[in-house]
Symmetry: C2
């Protein structure tokens, strides 16, 4: 009913980071693509097969040193239902290897429709007398523009399935301030949404002081990260924007509490494309991802 | 590059409504479920097959009198990738029958990730030398909490594919005011988002005066509907909340312009469950849906 399992993974690995699995075909070594296309053709099935091979090798290379993976739904949807089979199998494989899975979907809707999303990504779908895990993640990112009606339907599913959510609070992109930095009375929109996370989180308390309702706060806004860490003591932060988007270790330092908890920092392209940046042999792509993950761990833990 | 094809369908049918395809298994006649379960078992495949049969029969019954369908992604995701095959086939079937397809996904993200969603739902996915339509809708609902960065990536795909988007402005749910009704300076959040729609829409002009950037505004807030119709002359409204959520024809009247354009009103449960409400024979479910669609058309056009 909270993010405790994620926190336990972070403690076990001593690593407050998450590997974003946002696979583009161009990130994938050509020998993997060729093999998949030889088997399935240059088709959505072929793309989905190449991505699955790539993801599994990355998960094998990272599962003992990185606590969590964060597949981005958009990059699977882009390959149609075939891509969604790869999302399903990637999630199952990461969980089998002991990783915590945060599905980035930024889903939002109301009432029974939001329940359907909660069921899809965190819960069990009933079919007649049977129950099935549709996508099977441990946590889901969600968007709170619709108000509490859009968040409450998730809380019951989180409680039942021991899952969590991360609500968009202050996103990492340049235009996030257009709405999120505006003042509602004497509080910014992002702070209002952050306070909502504390309130919603009361229904999903965790044993390490953090609830099952986390917040997405970008590494590209370090002062807001520190402000929110202070203001939201029970809300875990998922922090995108480190690396390719420009955030560094010093920028994320303020997201952590005194025990080095309170935040999990994402890297997607940094890890996925490490082999291209290193300019190593294609076949060493998973090794390069592991080296980058270890470098990132050192970089971030050095400021805690 | 706009919503012109939708407007032409509305004119052809004389019907400014859209049928929401938000299928729950409990809405589907038992003989259809039994047949699907007999073939595929009580599984996600079985559920997906039952929903596809149901949707196709509804599309057959509605395609000459209703201009558009609006599948809600959540109810397909709930059945996993198997459900997503049904979403894909439903969209293809509705288009084949001449209907305009609005996929309700409320998707949101930034930069290349938002491009991935745009590609998935409105564009073409490249795989090697080939290009594929992943889901293939004509328009997509999106959420603007992330600011312009989250909307701009859609505009190029809309232009290229002759598609459109509907941005959440004032949603139909009771708690939509928690954020959307708050004042940013002297304007509400929903009005600010509405003004953004006008601005974004300048890039996708249409020949009937309405752009490719529409807005979602709930039937449950009639005074805001009228306020926004006045303020946003180039923004088409997708209006949920008629029927089951409590909105009536008088409530949506203000959403229309003097020519009877400017809004398309959704009914989901009203149409999907018409056979249960009529208490007619299960086998007549599509006939009941057609009767309800005609009743709704009369009801809404009576106030224009």
């Amino acid at each position: 009913m909270s993010l405790d399992r994620m926190i336990e993974n972070i403690r076990r690995t001593g690593n407050p980071t998450v590997a974003g699995l946002d696979p583009k075909l161009s990130y994938i070594p050509s020998y993997i693509r060729k093999k998949a296309f030889a088997e399935y053709g240059e088709t959505l099935d072929g793309a989905a097969a190449a991505i699955l091979t790539y993801n599994k090798a990355l998960i094998d290379a990272l599962c003992d040193i990185v606590p969590a993976v964060k597949p981005q739904a958009a990059y699977y949807e882009m390959y149609g239902w075939q891509g969604m089979t790869t999302l399903t199998e990637t999630i199952a494989y990461a969980k089998e290897k002991g990783m915590f899975v945060i599905t980035v979907g930024k889903r939002n809707d109301i009432g029974t429709t939001m329940e359907a999303y909660a069921t899809a990504h965190l819960g069990k779908t009933a079919v007649g007398e049977q129950q099935f895990s549709a996508f099977g993640g441990d946590a889901l990112t969600v968007n709170g523009y619709l108000g509490s009606d859009g968040i409450r339907p998730l809380l019951g599913v989180c409680r039942e399935m021991d899952g969590g959510i991360f609500v968009l609070v202050k996103t990492s992109n340049p235009s996030s301030g257009e709405l999120q930095d505006q003042l509602l009375g004497d509080k910014t929109v992002y702070r209002t949404m952050g306070d909502n996370c504390e309130k919603w989180g009361e229904e999903l308390p965790g044993k390490y002081g953090y609830s099952g309702v986390g917040a997405v706060v970008g590494a590209t806004y370090p002062s807001q990260l520190s402000e929110l860490r202070e203001a939201l003591p029970h809300t875990y932060f998922l922090v995108p924007g480190y690396g390719a988007q420009g955030g560094g270790a010093k920028d994320v330092a303020g997201a952590f509490d005194r025990d080095g908890l309170g935040a999990i920092v994402n890297s997607s392209r940094g890890i996925l494309c490490a082999w291209q940046k290193e300019n190593c042999a294609e076949e060493d792509f998973a090794g390069a991802a592991r080296r980058e993950a270890l470098r990132m761990k050192e970089d971030i833990t050095s400021v805690l």
